[in-house]
């Protein structure tokens, strides 16, 4: 299954500056793993010990994959997977 993956700015150096790439696989996890071949270093940035780093959210066709089947969520041709970095911070401690 070929799907489109939308890449936020922090990850674009790993995709040659492209904001959208295509990849194949039967599930979200397979698709993401396949990216390592096409874009070395990509998987290392988003996985930690086989799990998605907590500072990323993944949306398949607008649905948070945590509320689907996570990395096991099946994908279909034409699906769109968006990778959203967590934006957070804090004011200085007093």
């Amino acid at each position: 299954m070929a799907i489109r993956i939308r890449i936020a700015a922090p990850l674009r150096p790993l995709t040659g500056g492209r904001d959208e790439i295509q990849a194949s696989g039967a599930s979200v996890g397979e698709v993401l793993e396949s990216l390592e071949t096409l874009h070395p270093g990509f998987a290392a940035n988003i996985f930690e010990n086989g799990q998605i780093r907590r500072f990323f959210s993944f949306y398949l066709n607008g649905e948070d994959i945590r509320f689907l089947a996570g990395l096991h969520t099946p994908v279909s041709d034409g699906d769109v997977l968006s990778i959203i970095p967590a934006i957070a911070g804090a004011r200085p401690s007093t």
Binding site: D64, I87, A88, R91, S93
Partner: protein, 141 residues
């Protein structure tokens, strides 16, 4: 460099003042040219940190997803973010640095007693990981 038209900067400052004493945050849509981020739109984002909204912020990821979509539809990108430091200087905290991403501008607004008193923009450098201040200009490119 962060290039932001004055009306948009004023919009950001007003949002940060209105939200005081909580931390406020938002995103910039625009274009990147020669390493310069030119802001064309500023959008408030909901701070979803419910436990410590006065000294922490966490932008609603669903709103950010919607903004990414809107940016794409208008041939723009998310080029940066802003957040306020209520009653603290407009310098990045250790947590800001820890949670930041390269490739974005981070505008920090100091709000004291409900008034925006200072604002500076920062970009993350890696190796070593640190924020470096970038100039802000309001003039057109």
């Amino acid at each position: 460099m962060l290039r932001i038209p004055e009306p948009l900067l004023l919009q950001v400052l007003a949002h940060c003042e209105d939200g005081y004493p909580a931390e406020c945050c938002g995103a910039f849509l625009g274009r990147v040219r020669d390493g310069e981020r030119a802001v064309e739109e500023a959008h408030p984002l909901t701070n979803v940190n419910r436990e410590r909204p006065r000294d922490r912020y966490e932008a609603d990821p669903r709103e950010l997803l919607a903004l990414e979509r809107k940016a794409r539809e208008n041939a723009l990108s998310v080029v940066g973010f802003y957040h306020s430091h209520p009653d603290h200087p407009e310098r990045p905290s250790a947590t800001d640095t820890e949670r930041a991403w390269p490739g974005y501008s981070y505008l920090i607004v100091s709000v004291r007693e409900g008034r925006a008193t200072g604002w500076r923009s920062w970009v993350l450098e890696e190796d070593p990981r640190r924020f470096v201040e970038e100039p802000i200009t309001g003039s057109a490119a």
